[in-house]
């Protein structure tokens, strides 16, 4: 049996859903960011797989994967800076305890 596009798509769907699960259920903001990183990785697998199987002549998929990696790094940097700021001011990194805006 040959490995085809569908195989990669299924693996990336599973990876994406694992990331989503972390985002939905974790209390620790850092763990939520890790979930987002997993989702971005899943998206990257899709991009590169489509590049190979659907449009091999152009390299747009791989180029976009690089841009997504860049975005992931920026997101991690800014997101974790927010976590640090929240920890400094509120002494917690648990998102369900950060509820000052809630009345």
């Amino acid at each position: 049996m040959q490995v085809g596009l569908t195989h990669y798509l299924i693996v990336s769907a599973l990876l994406f859903c694992l990331g989503l699960y972390a985002v939905l259920t974790r209390r620790n903001a850092v763990a939520i960011l890790m979930g987002i990183e997993l989702m971005l990785n899943a998206a990257n697998v899709n991009l590169v797989a489509f590049n190979k199987y659907v449009a091999p002549a152009a390299l747009s998929g791989q180029v976009f994967a690089l841009v997504v990696i860049t975005l992931a790094a920026c997101e991690a940097g800014v997101g974790l800076a927010l976590v640090m700021a929240a920890y400094r001011n509120l002494e917690t990194v648990h998102v369900d305890e950060i509820n000052l805006m809630k009345w």
């Binding site: 693996v11 599973l14 763990a31 997993l38 449009a55 091999p56 790094a73 800014v78």
Partner: protein
């Protein structure tokens, strides 16, 4: 045959350690499990002949983002969070939503017949990517540098202690 075996092994590495990432009660173990996940995904890139992207994946994800996450864990909760509940009340709902979404996505993927484009991947992807960035994707390339600048400034402003 060999390709299928490699695919199964690499996907298993990525998915099993991703399960550890999302379920472990110890946040440091979660963060360290990210490394095998990223390396498994790197292997998938290799199977997809995206050599350059694979190298970048190791350099950025495994070598930089994981380190950043580990630093933040040690600067905030660290190992002291071991006895703290790590999940919120919506575990059941989250699990349900996740399983439904996974089922939907896989169902869609199995039913769709993807078109196959003409041509072949270039042998030497690093060079081809460089060409793409400097010719057709030049706007993305320059905007990326602005994005990096903005996020650097933003993150420094947010993280710095006010004097």
């Amino acid at each position: 045959m060999g390709e299928l075996a490699a695919f199964i092994i690499l996907s298993a590495i990525a998915l099993v350690s991703a399960v550890v990432v999302v379920t472990s009660g110890n946040i440091v173990r979660s963060a360290l499990s990210l490394v095998p996940t990223f390396l498994g995904v790197t292997g998938l890139y290799i199977l997809l002949q995206a050599e350059f992207v694979a190298g970048i994946q190791v350099l950025i994800y495994a070598g930089a983002i994981t380190v950043l996450i580990l630093f933040v864990i040690m600067l905030t909760e660290g190992g002291t969070g071991l006895r703290v509940r790590q999940v919120n009340e919506q575990v059941a709902a989250g699990l349900l939503a996740t399983v439904v979404l996974a089922g939907l996505l896989i169902g869609v993927f199995l039913r769709t017949d993807w078109p196959r484009g003409p041509g072949a991947l270039p042998q030497y992807t690093a060079e081809a990517i460089g060409r793409t960035f400097l010719t057709t994707a030049v706007l993305i390339f320059e905007v990326t540098s602005l994005l990096l600048l903005v996020s650097l400034i933003g993150a420094i402003i947010v993280a710095r202690r006010e004097r």
